[in-house]
């Protein structure tokens, strides 16, 4: 893993030399990708969850099919912190290539569980070592050689469970759920878990201080990744057309959507109430989305940075011709190809203004999996209400990792299909002008192609048009449309998800953040209180254009730190464009952009430095 983290990885080890550390540490599993370790990692995560202990998991994987190093970290936190932790106390070293560095990264007093012939003890005498003959154990319970690679991972689950006092019946329950209909697979895997568990029981005396003890903090909670949650939101919004092009890390969003559609949206006679098209590229994907939105369907695509860049031209058309469509952007590290399997929040500025000309877009910024579901659903109402593309920006950390959450709530409000005139309406009105602001909210009325009325048709174009959708190059007509679009965007402030004032007390110092930064931000607030005795306020932004509450929050604080996961202070820049000059000078930035999810201590340390604490 990132060696830069090593120097900072000492806190846990020092404090834990003799004391028991219960439900407050991280585990790191080092494997090679393509070895099937994901299901073992998931079983371990769910076992800790099953013990009632708040837990989060992060997969740090390479952009590769098989054979390169990959790490999975699991954080157990009795306090419910789910952000990344820089130090991991318990190492499971299954990758010979990285084992030496992995063990060197451990804090003093840390734990190493490893294939015995790696002999990692030679590198450190200040850790607790548990060498395990993984290959031998695996061979003894799995006669089929080709399955051993997969089964071996389950052996480590058993070893870890025994050493950390994770209840074997909880592991069994999790496995049973995972392999619900496959008794044979379950038997093989549970056999492997047991073999590891028994081996540890018979051969090791517990020497380290790390324990998982039962809690009741996860009762009723679910575990899901953000991509699946977004997809679920779209399905419960009644999405009908999905067009996409595969790209990490958004692919699993569409796959989850498709799985749900096949399960929930087939009529009794076997027909589909949806169309999913794997397009030839992202240009075609968004073209299909906007074409479908124009014709009245609820349509979506999902992509990441490079795809967003390709969608620029069409996004401008969507803005100017006022077409609905939902675009999920699961952000990854750029620029260019960047690091496809690492996280970032660096698309926000370019997406807000995606395309040439005076274009701006509505962005929804979910901060957890529950909001992935809710905004994934609400985006469809907003895009049809506002008649403009709506972007939902998540990131790799939220999208591809497993998160604990309260169960999602069914959207009780009926779908808002926006302003659409029917043939009866047209008969009553005697006609309509597509882009006329008859309601004073900047939003015109549209008709859907196929509406059976001689006056239903209008001409949709990305070229200059007047309020009757006619071609124009007349200065006043063009400007009137541009001004109305600006009014519509201004009105969107009150329609998009309002910010959440996590804490808005009497502190002179405020924080602003969005998306996955929230997890680290909440933990950092506690660290700042504990470490420096300072109370700070914090507001979480959930959409662009920015709501009035955000302006008020900035106005009521002396200094406002904007915490984000990009190099160029993009969120702060976007805020500055929106703020009067005397407010803009209040903003300070705390930035994190190494591809790993932001952690609390990075924020706390930077804050302390900037405040001179």
């Amino acid at each position: 893993m990132a060696t830069g983290d090593l120097a900072l990885g000492q806190e846990q080890g020092q404090s834990s030399a003799r004391q028991r550390v219960v439900n407050d540490f991280s585990i790191i599993v080092a494997t090679v990708n393509g070895s099937g370790s994901q299901s073992a990692n998931s079983v371990l995560l769910k076992s800790i969850f099953g013990m009632g202990v708040p837990v989060s998991g992060k997969n740090l994987f390479p952009s590769n099919i098989a054979g390169l190093p990959t790490w999975y970290t699991i954080r157990a936190s009795k306090d419910g912190y789910v952000a990344r932790r820089r130090d991991c106390a318990v190492l499971v070293a299954l990758n010979p290539e990285t084992a030496r560095q992995d063990v060197l990264n451990l804090p003093v007093g840390g734990v190493a569980i490893y294939e015995e012939n790696l002999n990692l003890k030679q590198y450190r005498d200040d850790i607790v070592a548990y060498p395990v003959p993984f290959d031998k154990l695996t061979a003894s319970i799995c006669p089929e050689a080709k399955l051993r690679k997969l089964v071996k991972n389950m052996v480590y689950v058993g070893v870890v469970a025994q050493l950390l006092s994770i209840d074997l019946t909880v592991v069994e329950k999790g496995l049973r759920k995972q392999f619900a209909k496959k008794q044979k697979v379950f038997d093989l895997n549970f056999g492997a878990v047991k073999a590891g568990f028994d081996y540890a029981q018979q051969n090791f005396t517990k020497q380290d201080p790390y324990f998982i003890e039962p809690m009741k903090a996860t009762a009723g909670k679910i575990i899901i990744d953000g991509n699946a949650a977004c997809g679920m939101g779209a399905v419960f919004a009644g999405v009908t057309v999905v067009a996409w092009y595969p790209i990490t890390p958004s692919t699993s969003l569409v796959e989850a959507t498709t799985d749900l559609l096949k399960k929930l949206r087939v009529t009794p006679d076997g027909k589909a109430t949806f169309a999913v098209v794997q397009a030839e590229d992202e240009l075609a994907a968004i073209g299909m989305v906007l074409g479908a939105g124009w014709a009245g369907a609820r349509s979506m695509t999902a992509t990441s940075g490079p795809g967003i860049s390709l969608m620029a031209e069409f996004s401008g058309l969507g803005y100017f011709a006022e077409l609905p469509g939902v675009i999920f952007d699961v952000q990854r590290s750029g620029p260019s190809t960047g690091m496809p399997t690492r996280t970032s929040q660096a698309d926000i500025l370019s997406t807000a203004f995606l395309s040439h000309g005076d274009t701006k877009h509505v962005l929804l910024l979910p901060g957890n999996v529950k909001e992935c579901f809710e905004f994934g659903c609400e985006a469809f109402d907003l895009t049809e209400r506002l008649q403009t593309p709506v972007f939902v920006l998540t990131d790799l950390d939220l999208g591809m990792n497993n998160w604990m959450s309260d169960p999602f709530t069914y959207p009780e409000r009926p779908l808002d299909r926006g302003k659409v005139l029917t043939a009866e309406d047209l008969e009553r009105l005697g006609g309509f002008a597509r882009y006329r602001d008859v309601d004073g909210d900047g939003i015109g009325w549209r008709t859907l192609p196929g509406t059976k009325h001689p006056k239903a048709a209008y001409f949709t174009r990305g070229s200059g048009h007047n309020d009757a959708a006619g071609y124009t190059e007349k200065p006043d007509e063009y400007q009137a449309v541009m001004d109305r679009l600006a009014r519509k965007f201004e009105n969107a402030r009150a329609l998009v998800p309002a910010p959440v004032a996590v804490k808005n007390g009497s502190s002179k110092v405020g924080f602003l953040a969005y998306g996955t930064t929230d997890f680290a931000m909440r933990e950092s607030m506690d660290e700042i209180k504990k470490g420096y005795g300072r109370d700070v306020d914090y507001m979480r932004i959930r959409a662009y254009p920015f709501a009035q509450e955000i302006h008020d929050f900035i106005a009521s604080h002396e200094r406002v730190y904007v915490v984000e996961q990009d190099r160029d202070a993009q969120l702060a820049s976007l805020l500055k464009l929106d703020l009067p000059a005397e407010q803009a000078t209040k903003l300070r930035s705390i930035l994190h952009y190494n591809g790993l999810p932001i952690d609390a201590r990075s924020i706390t340390e930077e804050f302390a430095t900037k405040e001179g604490l």
Binding site: I222, F236, T273, G287, G291, G293, A295, R298, A457, G462
Partner: protein, 345 residues
């Protein structure tokens, strides 16, 4: 032509031809595109297509402006350069009860839009795709396009030294199920092919040579009126009898190729070349390749397949348009979310 209605001024759904007209053309006088717009109006009128059912789709360029000049009662979408195929795909998926008519140009299709064009052809999406093909970029004042023939000459004297993309050969190879070429100046052939196109279920790709009177109608051009009058070589004579008209032609086997269209219409291709079989893909492509070598401009219906499933069939869509499905069919019930949540606990 004869219609089922007694009044000769209205078509068989009772509409006069004025209900199929569009705005005044802003293209150059004599532009081939205007003649194509006229033939579209005639074909839609004669076939009795409800104008409200038609969606007119286009990209960017002179050709792509033309949907404003026919069928004002139809919704229209003038999208971005080379991207009409994707927008149309989305629109057809949203509502497959509409009839999509796409108008593109040679630049819009064969250069900037070639990627979307080839993938559209693969899908056999039900739509009519017309290329108004003049071999030059008009709006930017006369640069060669990718369908310009090798050796053809610009007004400025520049000779094209790159081979032309044959959009028909491409479309046949890739999966379009009705492919032909016509000439804007051949009223009868173009009108007949358009009527057959309306009756077809699947992707119709028609490359219509449409001279640009301003930039490509001179000596040395292979897309001029004069050149077409000289070198146009019909491969078959196209006849069409719509479904609502009784078939009273006599069968003349050996000389004609009769195709039963999906809607019950009859397409009759009278052979002008010995044994040209419009259902033989490989032969169609070979014939087109040979014509290039012989400097012939073949026109007519090159390929037809009425059996191939369309993209809508492959996606197994419900009969009702996706766009207007009621919420009860698109939003799963509360119990479904409950079950998902339980499973995630």
């Amino acid at each position: 032509m004869a219609t089922a209605t007694p009044n000769p001024k209205v078509n068989y759904i009772g509409l006069p031809i004025t209900d199929y007209r569009g705005g005044k053309s802003t293209l150059c006088a004599g532009c081939g595109h205007n003649a194509i717009s006229e033939r579209i109006i005639d074909a839609m009128f004669e076939m009795g297509v409800e104008p409200e059912r038609v969606i007119k789709m286009s990209g960017i360029g002179c050709s792509s402006k033309s949907p404003a000049y026919f069928m004002n009662r139809s919704h229209s979408f003038n999208s971005v350069h080379g991207r009409m195929p994707s927008v149309t795909t989305g629109a057809v998926l949203a509502n497959h009860s509409n009839m999509a008519l796409g108008v593109s140009g040679d630049g819009d299709t064969a250069s900037i839009g070639i990627g979307q064009f080839v993938h559209l052809m693969r899908r056999n999406l039900p739509m009519i795709y017309i290329i108004e093909d003049n071999g030059v970029y008009g709006l930017t004042k006369g640069q060669f396009s990718a369908t310009a023939d090798i050796g053809s000459k610009l007004k400025t004297g520049v000779i094209n030294d790159l081979p032309a993309i044959d959009t028909c050969a491409l479309a046949i190879q890739l999966g379009a199920t009705f492919v032909g070429r016509s000439f804007s100046g051949d009223k009868k052939q173009l009108l007949t092919m358009l009527k057959a196109a309306i009756a077809h279920k699947g992707t119709v790709m028609l490359d219509v040579i449409s001279p640009c009177v301003t930039f490509n109608d001179h000596e040395g051009s292979t897309k001029s009126y004069k050149f077409m009058q000289e070198y146009d070589e019909p491969i078959n004579e196209v006849g069409f009898i719509p479904s609502f008209q009784e078939i009273d032609v006599d069968y003349d086997s050996g000389q004609v190729y009769d195709v039963q269209m999906h809607d019950g219409s009859n397409l009759r291709l009278r052979k002008l070349r010995e044994d040209y079989d419009p259902t033989d893909k490989a032969n169609a492509v070979r014939t087109l390749m040979e014509a290039h070598e012989n400097n012939e401009v073949l026109t007519g219906v090159f390929y037809i397949n009425t059996q191939q499933p369309t993209f809508i069939d492959l996606l197994n869509l419900v009969d009702e348009p996706l766009a207007t499905l009621p919420e009860s069919l698109t939003r799963p019930p509360k119990s479904a979310l409950g079950a998902l949540m339980t499973n995630l606990q």
